[in-house]
């Protein structure tokens, strides 16, 4: 499973079906032709994915919103370059990764984590009715710790780890998005996992 076409097939198989892929391709084609309603349809359909991925890569909702905005602006500008015979989502994910990389390099605000105004988190998590405020606080603290650990990773390892282990892409898909080999991705994620394990072990020992 090394070739690009196989990876593309994998992406397509994961979506709800071939008809849906064709439907998206039609919307993309209309948006590329300047149809603003079709473009808005694309935004609504993919904004959650783009914003979530940006947040996981950057660790700050403010930065993630800037990144998502930039992703959709670039999508509007360069949609005519997209080959409608290929699946749209990998292209968008690649664009998101590139934008986050640019933004992360220019702003260097990785240390800023998910503390929001009014003490509320940016990320809404599904909570059951039995949840209590202490548990929520612990959960927020844990999430903050995890994002801080991610922020400490080198950029390439963080991106590979987020795509492979948090976004749930396969190694081949991750390599396709990053434009590198599967061997490189494996090396990056194994290194990242070991560093994160060390971070967690240290944090638990410090409690």
């Amino acid at each position: 499973m090394n070739t690009r076409s196989e990876v593309a097939l994998l992406w397509m198989a994961e979506s709800d079906g071939e008809s849906e892929t064709r439907q998206i391709a039609a919307v993309v084609a209309r948006a590329a032709a300047g149809d603003s309603a079709a473009f808005e349809q694309l935004v609504v359909r993919h904004e959650r994915r783009v914003l979530t991925l940006s947040f996981r890569l950057l660790g700050s909702m403010e930065d993630a919103q800037d990144a998502a905005q930039e992703v959709f602006l670039r999508t509007f500008k360069y949609l005519h370059r997209f080959d409608t015979r290929r699946p749209f989502e990998p292209w968008l994910v690649r664009l998101t990764v590139n934008v986050c990389r640019d933004l992360g390099r220019s702003q260097r605000r990785r240390a800023a984590v998910i503390v929001e105004h009014n003490g509320k988190s940016d990320v809404a998590e599904p909570r059951d009715s039995s949840s209590n405020p202490h548990a929520d606080l612990q959960s927020d603290q844990l999430r903050e710790t995890l994002y801080r650990a991610l922020a400490d990773l080198p950029e390439k390892e963080r991106t590979a780890f987020v795509l492979r282990d948090i976004e749930g892409l396969s190694t081949a898909e991750t390599a396709d998005v990053l434009g590198s080999s599967e061997a490189t991705v494996r090396s990056q994620i194994s290194s990242a996992r070991l560093k994160l394990r060390k971070f967690i072990t240290r944090t638990e020992a410090g409690k």
Binding site: M61, F76, R81, D83, E125, R193, L194, R197, I200, T201
Partner: protein
């Protein structure tokens, strides 16, 4: 003995099923025997489970709406890509991926320039010049009144060999003495060539030292 530190990277791949089957079996047999590696595996599984819990987090609706609004405003200010640009792109790249297409075009351009340059330099190069100069003299007869000429620019190859018996020139010093003093200096340092009436007979004189 297996180096446990070196196996850690493999364990990190193993916990998520990224290790190949053959390596998996080897590692599993090692894990059964090594307590410290077993601990590493357990810790890795725990930390992976923690980080995977981040999948549950989703951006809240307000954040999504804000992005949508910002995009709507900014895109409204932009002009859509003109039709000719879309057609030009489709024509140029014809379904090819952008980077390979550009790389291919750049390679073709480099090869063309290289071939053109090679052809151009072959036509324009002057003939090779020999490394040493040889003083040339005209000898009008065997041993009689050699006329001394200025050393010419056109040169023959060094280390000449005489294939025939040549008419002997007596007292080469006297011949050299006929030249003006500044030329004599030059003559004494460079090999001298004597031309005779017979075009097939050429005499070379190679002085050993200054004033020889």
């Amino acid at each position: 003995m297996t180096d446990c530190a070196a196996l850690q990277k493999q364990i990190a791949l193993y916990v998520e099923g990224d290790l190949q089957d053959a390596d998996c079996r080897k590692l599993e047999s090692h894990l059964r025997a090594c307590a410290s590696c077993w601990d590493v595996e357990a810790e890795l599984r725990e930390s992976q489970a923690l980080f995977k819990s981040l999948r549950l987090g989703q951006p809240n609706t307000a954040a999504l709406e804000e992005v949508r609004e910002r995009v709507r405003i900014q895109v409204g200010d932009l002009q859509p890509v003109p039709v000719w640009a879309r057609w030009a792109h489709q024509l140029l790249f014809a379904g090819l991926r952008r980077k390979p297409a550009i790389a291919g075009a750049a390679f073709a351009a480099l090869v063309t320039v290289g071939l053109w340059y090679a052809n151009f330099s072959r036509v324009g190069t002057p003939p090779l010049q020999p490394a040493t100069e040889v003083a040339q003299f005209q000898v009008s007869g065997p041993g009689v009144q050699p006329s001394v000429e200025k050393p010419p620019a056109v040169v023959t190859a060094p280390q000449p060999r005489m294939k025939r018996t040549v008419p002997k020139v007596e007292e080469p010093m006297e011949i050299a003495a006929l030249a003006p003093s500044d030329e004599r200096e030059q003559i004494s340092q460079t090999p001298m060539k004597f031309l005779t009436d017979d075009p097939d007979i050429i005499i070379y004189w190679l002085p050993r030292d200054k004033g020889d």
